[in-house]
Amino acid sequence: MSWLILALLVWLGGWALNIWLSRWDRLRAVRIAVPVIFGVTLLVVWEALVRGFGISPVILPAPSVVAQTFAASTDLLWIDFQQTVVKGALRGFTIGAIAAFVAAVLIDRSKFLTRGLLPIGNFVAALPIVGIAPIMVNWFGFDWQSKAAVVVVMVFFPILVNTVQGLNEASAMQRDLMRTYAANYWQTLFRLRLPAAMPFVFNGLKVATTLALIGAIVAEYFGSPTRGMGFRISTGVGSLSIDLVWAEIAVAAIAGTALYGIVAWIEKRVTFWHPSQRR
């Protein structure tokens, strides 16, 4: 009972603190502190609820237990991280992103192709592509190649569609300007259309980062070497090492957030001029 009251108090306290803090929402420190406090509050409430209700650790372990497991299994987590994130997700993401970008620029040369491929690309981008995971495992084997293949296909279409759309973003006036200079195709591409497309390209990249991890992990369910985050998660559930499962989830969340953060950071640098990035 006292744990539940503690949970309630921490929740109210954390929220009140945040309300008070967010009065200085222009300060960088506050913009960081508030979500951190929110996250910490969540963890404390989780801990208190698990203890308060006496929830079995094989169903939902307390964060403190997860933290211990995390600290005790860093070697394992590191191996899995390399297998799934570095080899599967990142390689797939890179290949998929480059392929999509190049394809977009090529498609863009032909009005016909653009008109034909864009609706199809848009459609495919809305499909549950994860479903191809078993096929990819069959085609590309059990190691990271099949995971990367799933990721390639998953990230390809959102990036393609966004890039093609972005390449058409330059206003008619900006294009006319290039025409009055009698600029050729490549000059217009590099000096006008690619820079103007960047905000869109990065939108696609950001969507793709979250897809990449899901794809790599799901694909491991259909076969993997005896390492990898998806492998460890499913094995962990099977052997009731739920604390290890949560440690893997934490790694995934950290990796995903970092990946997203890196893309957002590069975006900030590349599209500094865009109104959404100023202010």
Binding site: W15, N18, L21, S22, R23, D25, V30, R31, V34, P35, I37, F38, G39, L42, I59, L60, F112, L113, R115, G116, L117, L118, P119, I120, F123, A125, A126, L127, P128, V130, G131, I132, P134, I135, N138, W139, T209, T210, L213, I214, I217, V218, Y221, F222, M229, G230, I233, S234, V237, I242, V245, E248, I249, A252, A253, A255, G256, T257, L259, Y260
Partner: protein, 310 residues
């Protein structure tokens, strides 16, 4: 409609490439089969053949290449095989008068659709409420927004078994619920982001106008923010329903393998029936297309009614 011709052309090209790709993809299996049937294949034995490239195999055994187009367990089925399988599990079922047979995709599509719609409803609700909180409370904005992003980087598949157990502990036995929760988990994010944008779409001048009327918070929400957000809402609903479908299928892959298109993919995999996987994938594509098109239609009608059609 202007793009009908290009789209069809591109589709035709894709199908063409697909047909061509079947030969190299399936040649090894075809040769194994031929060899087992007593034919002479060069080189002999599937293990030695692994060292030889598919192109050489196709050249040296050209008489068996056609076998790759009619395999029972192809690595890559032909479009025609997929089409036949789709027909067998949908149209033929209807003809036989058992449209909702468990052996047909209509039943499984329906299961998936139900979860998707529940997840979509739940996700949309959470997304909209979250957006309202974020737009109206600085604290909510600062606290929730980063976590909304982080939430999407968590592999929900990992949560699936725990969601099942926790929801059954909470007394929910319905199999669809965990799927719907996963689906809502993926769906709420685009809706949240879109609605935050939409609810913030009114210009300061439009808000100031209401202030000069001394309008209440509720009045300005209902008369300004909400209608102004409608175009954004629809755009994000379309993304959201696609995400909800992905969520349902991801949820069906490991959480039960009982029914639904995701389960069909899994079962197809378990029994080494690639055609079942491919036909379930295409059924999912049709479902996604139908849902998005439907929303698009509603969007057009609504915006037209509201005088906001572009």
């Amino acid at each position: 409609m202007r793009s009908a011709a290009p789209v069809l052309t591109v589709l035709a090209v894709i199908v063409g490439i697909w047909y061509l790709a079947v030969a190299p993809m399936n040649v090894r299996v075809a040769l194994d089969q031929a060899e087992r049937a007593g034919e002479a294949v060069v080189p002999e034995g599937s293990v030695p053949r692994r060292a030889v490239s598919v192109w050489r195999l196709m050249r040296d055994n050209s008489e068996f290449v056609h076998l790759g187009y009619a395999l029972e367990r192809p690595r890559l089925p032909t479009p025609q095989q997929v089409g036949q399988e789709l027909w067998k599990t949908t149209g033929e079922m209807v003809q036989k008068g058992r449209p909702f047979s468990k052996r047909g995709l209509i039943y499984h599509g329906w299961i998936t659709l139900q979860s998707t719609l529940w997840g979509f409803a739940l996700g949309t609700l959470v997304g909209i409420l979250g957006a309202v909180a974020i737009v109206y409370s600085r604290t909510a904005q600062l606290s929730l927004m980063p976590w909304a992003i982080i939430s999407q980087t968590i592999p929900i598949v990992a949560l699936a078994p725990m969601i099942i157990v926790l929801s059954s502990q909470a007394g929910i036995e319905e199999r669809g619920v965990p799927k719907a929760i996963i689906s809502a988990y993926l769906c709420f994010f685009p809706v949240l982001v879109g609605m935050v944008k939409g609810l913030r779409a009114p210009q300061p001048a439009q808000l100031d106008l209401l202030r000069t009327y001394n309008a209440t918070g509720l009045q300005s929400f209902l008369r300004l923010r909400l209608p102004a957000s409608v175009p954004y809402l629809f755009t994000s609903l379309k993304v959201g329903i696609a995400a909800a479908l992905v969520g349902t299928i991801v949820g069906e892959l490991p959480t039960g393998a009982i029914s639904g298109l995701g389960a069909r993919i899994l079962i197809g995999d378990q029994f080494g029936a690639p055609l079942a996987i491919w036909s379930a994938l295409f059924a999912a594509a049709v479902l996604a297309g139908a849902l998005v098109t439907l929303l698009d239609l509603i969007q057009r009608i609504t915006l037209k009614r509201m005088g906001m059609a572009t």
